[in-house]
């Protein structure tokens, strides 16, 4: 009894230390992003006053009505050798805010200062990102507790791997991005599944199923791209890239589908293995039909998740096309062909993984049944 009490006490103490540390990190990070102006080379100014100079209605060729105007911004410089000085900027804006926005007092802006002339270069957004990041982190921690923490850690590690991989890709131009991403995919799979689901036979089966599913997806998409020569895909959407858009697209398809494929693999392997643990004599036919029933239930919604993530981002550009009197079909084929391909390919990865995962877990279970 005493021992239990002791354990409770130390656990409380550990919790206390944990929460204090988290609180400290939160405060420190927020203080930091509000006082990091010295780390930027570009001059940063805080808007202290905004005066509207003029705002006039405009009509473009397609007859769209909007407004355009000028604003006078008073800014106080936050860094550099002119720190503390006042600058005035005349800046243009549009009513729709598609290109130039109206600023408010308190906004922090990057400036380029050339003698007496100053221009707005961009908005300092890092502190808002930190706020949203903490919101996300706390949502995961409060809801998921330990599982949330593991998910966050695996996300952090995966982001670091991706960043290093991209550096390696940029610096050694002879290494293909596809090869780099294949290595990444293996690392991502092993790390995420082990961290989120723990070490068990189900996890190993899921890792194997994920990698096989990804291999099948890679084979299907590259054969398709090779056979068709990519007709119907407008790689011009990625025209800002200087290197092979096809390869970067394919790498993006694979990485984008990976999370969903892992989800499907672990769902199937762990539920089938649980069935086996409840009933050691379960037949392979029963496992097969249960696996298919589960797979059937989740494949539609999983594909939809990818679909919404990919398509939504293109809504503003499609609207721009429509408002420029471009026919809808042309607008769609010019803006979202790659996104639709990504969603469909992701769906293929998801569905292909279902029979693979069933087969792998069946194989493991039948070996266990033979042994016992």
């Amino acid at each position: 009894m005493n021992k239990v009490m002791m354990q409770l006490k130390t656990m409380k103490k550990q919790n206390y230390i944990f929460y204090t540390t988290v609180l400290f990190i939160v405060i420190a990070s927020i203080v930091f992003v509000h006082h990091n102006h010295g780390l930027y080379d570009k001059p940063i100014g805080v808007v202290t006053e905004v005066n509207l100079i003029n705002e006039e209605p405009t009509t473009d060729r397609a007859g769209n009505e909007d407004t355009r105007g000028q604003q006078e911004l008073y800014l106080k410089l936050q860094n550099g050798n002119q720190k503390g000085e006042q600058v005035t900027v005349i800046d243009e804006f549009t009513g729709s805010k598609a290109t130039g926005d109206r600023y408010r007092t308190g906004d922090q802006l990057f400036l380029s200062i050339n003698g007496e002339e100053a221009r707005v270069e961009g908005v300092k957004r890092d502190y808002y990102l930190v706020y949203v990041a903490w919101f996300f982190i706390f949502a995961l921690l409060l809801v998921g507790k330990k599982q949330g923490l593991m998910a966050l850690l695996s996300l952090a590690i995966n982001s670091l791997i991706l960043s290093f991989a991209l550096d390696a890709f940029i610096q050694t131009s002879n290494v293909s991005l596809l090869f780099v991403s294949l290595i990444c995919i293996v690392l991502f799979t092993v790390i995420s599944l082990l961290m989120v689901n723990g070490r068990s036979i189900k996890t190993y089966a899921a890792i194997f199923a994920t990698l096989s599913g990804m291999l099948a997806l890679l084979a299907i998409t590259s054969i398709l791209l090779y056979v068709t020569g990519g007709t119907g895909l407008r790689f011009e959407e990625m025209q800002f890239l200087t290197r092979h858009p096809e390869v970067i697209f394919l790498a993006g398809v694979l990485i984008g589908a990976l999370g969903a494929v892992m989800d499907v693999a672990i769902t199937i392997t762990s539920s089938l293995y649980n069935l086996f643990e409840k009933n050691n004599k379960i037949t392979l036919e029963q496992l097969n039909s249960s696996g298919k029933a589960i797979g059937k239930d989740i494949m539609g919604t999983m594909t939809n998740i990818l679909f919404f993530v990919y398509i939504s981002g293109s809504i503003p550009i499609i609207i721009i096309y429509i408002k420029n009197a471009v026919p809808l079909s042309f607008a769609l084929s010019h803006t979202i062909s790659l996104d639709i391909a990504r969603a469909l390919a992701g769906g293929i990865g998801i569905v292909v993984t279902i029979p693979i995962a069933i087969y792998i877990i069946n194989y493991l279970i039948s070996r266990k049944q033979v042994r016992s």
Partner: protein, 259 residues
């Protein structure tokens, strides 16, 4: 032949092979969702209408189609629908607020030359449009989590009808915790995949860390993914609470047989 048609054909055959009739239904749900988005876009193209309201209406339609058409009209889908809409409404407030503050809407140099030939003076509020984009990116994952929690909770209630609301809620949270990690992963990798090209571009231009973090496109993507991630977490207690409440009160039990 066009790659998109081939991909769609392969997906349809695979879905039919694995899921039979239900597989075909799943396939056409994707196109249903696509049509909803297209209709929403056409409505949003009218400056007189409010894009945020339209996005919320689109979410209601998407939730309705995906839950009731795919999973039938019963206690669990109704609870999941209610929970998804509550979560979406709450998230939308935060999303709108942050989009307004961060000025992440609009277009930049990464859009290429194509946009330069088009007029962007179209009189539609791009802050609202951006907030709509963020909420619509998240809706799929939120609905998925809601039904994944409501459905087993309904089963638990069926076998243990005397469980108190508190205990039902606790069971729901336990189910939610188990799926939180994988659903956060799904969302994150989906976004990694979609902005991989952008990251390569930033690295190519040797942008500094500060440039990348404050860049409009990247902030927009990061804010979207963080809200989506928070959304898949927040839906868990909301669904657990709503489902426990609904089951205990005996609401929505018109067609018990289907439950």
């Amino acid at each position: 032949m066009n790659v998109l048609w081939l991909l769609a054909l392969i997906l349809l055959s695979l879905m039919y092979w694995v899921g039979g009739k239900q597989g075909v239904k799943s396939f056409f749900t994707i196109f249903f969702n696509f049509s909803i988005i297209i209709v929403a876009i056409i409505f949003m193209a009218d400056p007189a209408r409010n894009p945020v309201i339209l996005a919320l209406l689109a979410c209601v339609t998407i939730g309705y189609v995906n839950l009731f058409f795919l999973n039938g009209n019963n206690v669990k889908t109704k609870a999941a629908f209610l929970s998804s809409m509550l979560t979406i409404a709450v998230l939308m407030i935060g999303i709108y607020f942050i989009t307004e503050l961060t000025h992440i809407q609009g277009f930049g140099e990464e859009e290429g030359e194509e946009i330069a030939a088009l007029s962007v003076m179209i009189g539609i509020d791009f802050v609202q449009l951006m907030a709509s984009v963020i909420i619509l990116s998240t809706i799929g994952a939120i609905i998925d989590n809601a039904i994944s929690i409501a459905s087993p909770m309904n089963e638990i209630h069926r076998y243990h009808p005397n469980l108190k609301r508190k205990e039902l809620f606790r069971r729901g949270m336990a189910i939610g915790k188990d799926i939180l990690g994988t659903s956060a992963n799904t969302i994150f990798f989906a976004f990694f995949g979609s902005f991989l090209a952008l990251l390569v571009w930033f690295k190519d231009l040797s942008y500094s860390f500060g440039d990348v973090v404050n860049a409009r496109v990247l902030s927009a993507e990061l804010i979207t993914v963080l809200f989506a991630g928070a959304g898949v977490a927040i839906i868990i207690p909301v669904t657990a609470w709503v489902t426990a409440f609904v089951l205990e009160k005996g609401w929505f039990r018109g067609k018990e047989g289907e439950g």
